[in-house]
Amino acid sequence: MSSPESRTLRYVDALREAFEQEMERDSTVFLFGLDVDDHLGIQGSTKGLLERFGPERVFTTPLSEDAMTGVAIGAAMAGRRPVHVHIRMDFMLLCMNQLVNIAAKAHYMWGGQVRVPLVVRSMVGKSWGQGAQHSQGLHALFAHIPGLKVVAPSNAHDAKGCMIAAIRDDNPVIFMEHRLLYNTEADVPVAPCEVPFGKARLCTRGDDITIVGVSNMVQEAIRAAELLAEAGVRAEVVDPISIVPLDIATIVRSARRTRRLLVVDNGWTMCGVSAEIAARVAEETEGVRIRRMGFAPTTCPTSPWLEADFYPNPATIAETAWAMARPDAPAWRPDPERARLAWQVQFKGPF
């Protein structure tokens, strides 16, 4: 990911840079949604844009997710390129009708006469009592519907590149951002750059097991791979980057080689992205051991003592991967102290 014309940037700043560069390049791009123009600017990801591009292109809205989504869709069909922001993915449940019944279908149902170049940003919350209604990774709901693209960049580099690609895309793109990734840093090109959709990345190389992570779970999987490496298991961590389109070929290729596939999602497994990846690999290969991890099959509780077990973490991922890679060896789990260092990232306000 490194290049002379790049520097270390936080995820949230990489997003901001993407908006700035694209809004500069294309005057039809505008950015709206609750709180995009306040002094916090969506954790900083929209900060300064109001001052630079004015209130016609950067503005808050009434609390009307359903209609505002329709407005975004209509404006997109009429030739604008809106970026619509939700501070939690959970709130997108209010605008499923517009997204599924209009945005996803417009180009097809209206015989190719219109396009919907729309980006819908949404943040996924975790920890600090986010709980039932502020923590859901709902990407599978969108991935299920033909006509929507779904992207979940796991690092600052891809955040910028995917956002620019999303804004330039002529289709509706659901953009999932995990709140805990916002402060993570990566090497990010200075110039505008696109990370193409439908091309997975191999984050680590290994022959013992393939671990596919989604969104934040890519980071957790990479930490798990480090713990596993110390125990002598070499995991190949794959980041699909985009869920739709999905680069299943890269995943299948890796799984064919390692004969073991563990999919770790930042959402529920039932009818989730992990189910899709597992099913596709099962359809296309034979003899691959397959396991899935994701949210516990429960609502997300707020109490941290319960919440800890709701999510996969490097320790549980490593433990599961070990059991798959070394089925005949005794069970192993990473040293709790090292594991703790690897995953105790906690979100503590502002909300």
């Binding site: 009434p62 209609a67 209509g74 517009q98 209009i102 097809y108 015989g111 006469q113 170049p117 006509g147």
Partner: protein, 314 residues
């Protein structure tokens, strides 16, 4: 007999005849789609579209044949679409409920009640951003005013002074359910709009000239930044909610209710205002046009199998 009267008559009669011919063809099973006819309510589309220009947009519901035609949407494209043919306005992928004609400013109609209202509001936002003086009119039924997105959209449009005319075609029913079973204050639609900051006008006699005049005033204001407006036009649906027939024998409404509306029929009224020679010439033109459109649809090819997979993504 003003030029305006001739123009309005032509549009009214043309829509009426297209809908009647659709109803006639329907039992043949050549139409591969449900049809929601606007017979009896054509004047709303006709009046509003008469004050719009080619660069203005209209949007509507599953009941949008009238709007489509009044705005200049393709007639052959409409019929071919009902036939499921490749030459249909949606290439056979939308059917009667999803008509569109981008070149004519018909934005594509939607069959989930109310969905077109926010979408059209987005077109109005784009129009304001473009700053070219174009406007949007969006048509919907009384039932659509019960959906939350109606209020959300009006508030947003008022807040941003968007150039959009909300047109409620209040025919008193949502399918078979009368307004009184759905709204505590059946007369409250305009009041709700006003409370949100959208000036509203109610026209209860179905007069095409009255609707046109209200639309003209509203559109003139909004072309220069005056913001949105709402027109509630009370009308009556003569046929079934969906399908080609009358349904006065079904028990949910009677002929007596329809009678005053049939007496006020705007097609007949304007026909009476034309001299016979003009009227006959107009009528003949309409029949020829419809005949050609039906022939076009009938002779058009069906979509190729691979079309199923085309246009999922742009």
């Amino acid at each position: 007999m003003s030029e305006e009267t001739v123009r309005l008559y032509r549009s009214l009669k043309r829509i009426r005849r297209v809908e009647e011919v659709t109803a006639e063809i329907y039992p043949s099973d050549k139409i591969k789609s449900p049809v929601h006819l606007a017979i009896g309510q054509e004047q709303v589309s006709v009046a509003v579209c008469d004050v719009l220009g080619p660069r203005d947009w209209v949007g509507g519901s599953y009941r949008s044949h009238a709007m489509h035609l009044a705005k200049g949407g393709s007639l052959p494209g409409l019929i071919a679409e009902m036939y499921g043919k490749e030459t249909g306005c949606c290439r056979g992928k939308g059917g009667s409920m999803h008509v569109i004609d981008v070149a004519a400013g018909v934005m594509g109609s939607s069959a989930v009640v109310g969905t077109q209202i926010p979408m059209a509001t987005g077109y109005a936002l784009a129009a304001k951003m473009a700053g070219d003086g174009s406007v949007v009119a969006v048509f919907f039924g009384d039932g659509a005013t019960e959906e939350g997105c109606f209020y959300e959209s009006l508030n947003f449009a008022a807040l941003h002074r968007l150039p959009i005319l909300y047109v409620c075609e209040n025919n008193g029913y949502a399918i078979h359910e009368p307004l009184s079973k759905r709204r505590a204050r059946p007369e409250g639609i305009c009041g709700a709009a006003e409370a949100l900051g959208v000036p509203a006008t109610r026209i209860d006699d179905g007069c095409v000239f009255a609707i046109r005049s209200a639309a003209e005033t509203a559109v003139r204001t909004m072309r220069t930044g005056g913001g949105p407006a709402l027109i509630e036009a009370v009308v009556y649906r003569w046929r079934q909610h969906v399908g080609p027939n009358e349904d006065y024998d079904q028990g949910y409404r009677g002929h007596d209710e329809a009678q005053p509306w049939k007496e006020r029929d705007q097609v007949a009224r304007l026909a009476g205002m034309l001299d016979p020679a003009t009227r006959e010439a107009v009528d003949a033109g309409i029949e020829a046009e419809i005949e050609a459109a039906v022939a076009f649809a009938e002779s058009s090819p069906v979509p190729a199998a691979e079309e199923l997979y085309a246009d999922v993504f742009a």
